[in-house]
């Protein structure tokens, strides 16, 4: 029989205002096993913890129940307090009488009754608790960063600077990501390439950083501190060591009709290509789908012109297997597809473009060499319309329910740059709200209005209709003037919502990291653990976690790096002791449990057993407690009940059920 102490927290008035804590103490004392019960203002305070420690020592408690806030809040606090007083931390159970009781009930009698029952369930459970000891596992002192955009680069640099090895896996032929596609950056109007390129070079040159471009994560196994990752290095068809990056192959390549991914399909590229001039590594890849040599077997021009003899048509995909202690996801974003927005005529007119396309148009290395011109006829526009919130803030199923956060600022930037470079162009921005929190952000927006004369109109555009003369009829409402506007424009720019890179779903599944309904990776806690995934050892960097601009991305990249460093700095990790265990006397060796284990933690061994005097060799399940994460899938799959979960055993849960239904 346990000697149980029950500690009821007032949580100031959070609990005490709706739950009669004295009554809970009184009722708890009547439960079997309870030898001590008391209440206190703030159990989580130092004084509260001291009370727990004192009771453990004086009353020789073997288990305690704290009736307080959610275990997600203070379970660790109380476990540590118990441990300091010499009690195994897993002999602590929490009865959640705040979030699940005092905060949701108004009637004192009802809430008190419920609190008593919740306490009773926790007492019944702790009666069956057994001391548990965490296992230990080693930490591989190397990190993996998935994604080579600004987020991934910054994270890798920070980790590497702390002295740990980092690998970056980037899907495209070069690192740089979305930021490399941008022309200028707000609010200081720095040239994006000018500030990004040095970072790319630094990463490439860093002795602790290894970059896998044109590569993808294929398979992830293992767990925090000890992940094993298969990386597929796609065949580049160019020998990385031999290539000098002279660029002759790209000039001579006869296949030139492939839409350029980097330029958002606004122009074309050759089949052998580097995405952009500052690409790192500066080694081209052959796009085999569009390469004449690969498609027809006849050509081989690039091999002929390559002085270095770097072209290798026979190259094959290669799988590299590496071990990592921590993984940082920095998979970034893309703009949403506009297939569902017929009213903006995006697919009907070449002159309706997305903001990211405008970035490329404005960029000197872009399809128009930096000249602002209509893609339909090459004419300079006179009238430009920007439409905000295209696909953002939509609660219908066409768009995204969230605010994409960066559009207000980049639209102000675009408007300002156009007005600056082409003062004769009229710029009208249709907005719902202009959102500019951030240092120097509102000033920036005001400058666009006040200094550059950008015409901001509150009201959404209802439709954009291409006219026979090639111009675009924009019909909008001006909510402040209470009028409907019909105006003609030469170009319309859509501030398209951003969404997480579609590949993130696959990656999240491999990492067993959770993802929200919008495909953003979920953080372990929205406020307190914003750069960690709930899955241990997985960290989040950049837009894969939620919309953010460059400074925020870099901040988060640094934060993710620090969290990863914190993990890598440890020599070993304590593993969760709430793992499954198989009773070899009950085990049938039927393999059912192994079939449902998501971690491959269950194997089978022929073991000598002594079943009440009968000695025989039996095939039985063995759980690797370092791999087991304690989900419990196996415990239900097991028909004989041989599999049980420590900390959430069958009998413990049944005891809780019984206590509640009593």
């Amino acid at each position: 029989m346990q000697r149980i102490g029950v500690f009821v927290c007032h949580c100031g008035s959070n609990i005490a205002a709706t739950v009669d804590v004295k009554k809970v103490v009184e009722m708890a004392l009547l439960e079997p096993g309870v030898v001590h019960a008391e209440d206190y203002q703030y159990m989580c305070s130092e004084a509260g913890q001291a009370k727990i420690a004192a009771a453990i020592r004086e009353k020789h408690l073997t288990g305690i129940v704290v009736c307080s806030c959610s275990p997600r809040m203070h379970e660790t606090t109380f476990r540590k307090a118990a441990e300091r007083a010499g009690l195994n931390p897993y002999m602590v159970e929490i009865a959640n009488i705040r979030e699940h009781c005092s905060w949701i009930h108004k009637d004192m009698e009802e809430a008190t009754k419920k609190a008593v029952i919740l306490a009773r369930a926790a007492i019944a459970k702790v009666n069956l608790n057994t001391p548990l000891k965490p296992g230990e596992s080693r930490v591989t002192k190397r990190a993996l960063v998935i994604g080579g955009g600004i987020a991934g680069i910054q994270t890798a640099l920070d980790i590497a600077d702390a002295g740990y090895e980092v690998d970056i896996v980037e899907k495209t032929p070069s690192i740089g990501g979305r930021m490399s596609q941008l022309d200028k950056t707000f609010p200081t109007l720095d040239c994006s390439a000018c500030i990004l390129t040095p970072k790319m070079v630094e990463a490439a040159a860093h002795e602790k950083i290894k970059i896998y471009t044109y590569s993808e994560v294929e398979k992830v196994s293992g767990f925090v501190g000890d992940f094993t990752v298969d990386i597929r290095k796609k065949a580049r068809s160019v020998d990385m060591d031999k290539c000098t990056g002279c660029g002759v192959c790209q000039e001579k390549c006869p296949s030139r009709k492939t839409p350029s991914e980097f330029n958002r399909g606004l122009n074309t590229r050759s089949a052998i290509y580097t995405p952009f001039a500052q690409a790192i590594p500066n080694v081209p890849v052959i796009d085999r789908e569009h390469c004449i040599k690969f498609q027809t077997g006849k050509c081989g021009v690039c091999a002929k012109v390559c002085q270095a003899g770097a072209i290798d048509y026979g190259q094959k995909d290669e799988i590299v297997t590496e071990k990592y202690g921590a993984i940082v996801v920095a998979t970034g974003f893309d703009t949403i597809k506009l297939d569902n927005y017929d009213e903006y005529a995006y697919s009907q007119s070449k002159d309706v473009i997305t903001s990211l396309e405008l970035e490329r148009i404005m960029n000197a290395a872009g399809p128009t060499k930096g000249h602002l011109e209509r893609l339909s006829d090459g004419k300079a526009p006179k009238e430009m319309v920007f439409i905000q919130c295209v696909g953002s803030r939509c609660s219908d199923n066409r768009g995204k329910s969230y605010c994409s956060k960066i559009c207000c600022m980049y639209t102000a930037k675009h408007a300002m740059l156009i007005r600056d470079k082409y003062p004769d162009v009229n710029v009208t921005v249709f907005y719902i709200d202009v959102r500019t929190p951030g240092k120097n952000f509102d000033e920036f927006y005001r400058r666009a209005v006040e200094q550059y004369g950008v015409n901001y109109i509150k009201g959404q555009v209802g439709k954009v209709a291409p006219q026979p003369d090639g111009r675009l009829l924009v019909q909008a409402s001006d909510l402040l003037d209470n009028r409907q506007i019909k105006m003609e424009a030469d170009m319309v720019v859509l501030a398209t919502a951003i969404e997480p890179n579609p590949d993130v779903r696959k990656i999240a599944t491999m990492l067993t990291a959770s993802i929200d309904t919008n495909n953003f990776l979920t953080e372990a806690h929205a406020k307190l653990r914003p750069v960690e995934s709930p899955t241990a050892g997985i960290f989040l960097s950049g837009v894969c976690q939620g919309p953010k601009d460059i400074p925020e991305t870099v901040e988060q990249a640094g934060a993710a790096a620090v969290k990863a460093i914190g993990l890598l700095a440890k020599d070993k990790l304590l593993t969760n002791p709430c793992t499954a265990q198989s009773d070899i006397l009950l085990c049938n060796g039927c393999s059912t449990c192994a079939n449902v284990c998501p971690y491959g933690a269950i194997t089978y061994e022929d073991k000598e057993v002594n079943d009440h005097g009968i000695r025989e060799t039996r095939r039985v399940a063995v759980v690797n407690s370092a791999l087991c994460q304690g989900c419990g899938a196996c415990t239900v799959a097991c028909p004989s009940g041989a599999m049980d979960l420590q900390g959430f055993s069958n009998r413990q849960i049944i005891a809780e059920v019984d206590a509640i239904c009593r």
């Binding site: 959404q460 409402s477 409907q484």
Partner: protein, 130 residues
């Protein structure tokens, strides 16, 4: 109109199945509306009126009879507020208040506008299509 405005607003919400509080006041409905100029209370305002339970003004408004029920605003509203449905519901309230579920035939001519399609007809078709 003897029912309190609150009841009426509730009725509109119930008939339309629309929660006007979802409106973020972007004005896309008004931007889209082909009858905008004919209306005294514009579609986006209509939503606010329901929000504010100012139903008396709505039932008196021209908007009720100028709305084509083309439902462009319904299709394009990013917040699923569907102003056209609200107008439709307000119209139905007026019709019901007359003691029957229908407009009396002799009233139709004076409401008819040769420029516009017969909105009630269109609306009815839409409501009972399937």
């Amino acid at each position: 109109m003897n029912k309190p405005a609150k009841k009426q607003a509730e009725l509109i919400r119930e008939i339309s199945g629309v929660n006007p509080l979802k409106c973020m006041k972007c004005g896309k409905c008004s931007a889209t509306c082909p009858s905008y100029d004919e209306m005294d209370i514009k579609p986006h305002q209509f939503v606010s009126y329901v929000q504010n339970e100012n139903i008396e003004a709505l039932v008196q408004s021209k908007t009720l009879w100028k709305c084509l029920s083309c439902f462009a605003c319904v299709e394009r509203c990013p917040r699923d507020v569907r102003p056209g449905k609200l107008i439709d519901a307000a119209r139905q309230i007026v019709v019901r208040e007359r003691g029957a579920d229908y407009l009396s035939p002799d009233e139709i001519p004076e409401l008819l506008d040769p420029e516009l399609p017969q909105q009630l007809l269109v609306s009815a078709f839409r409501r009972y299509r399937r």
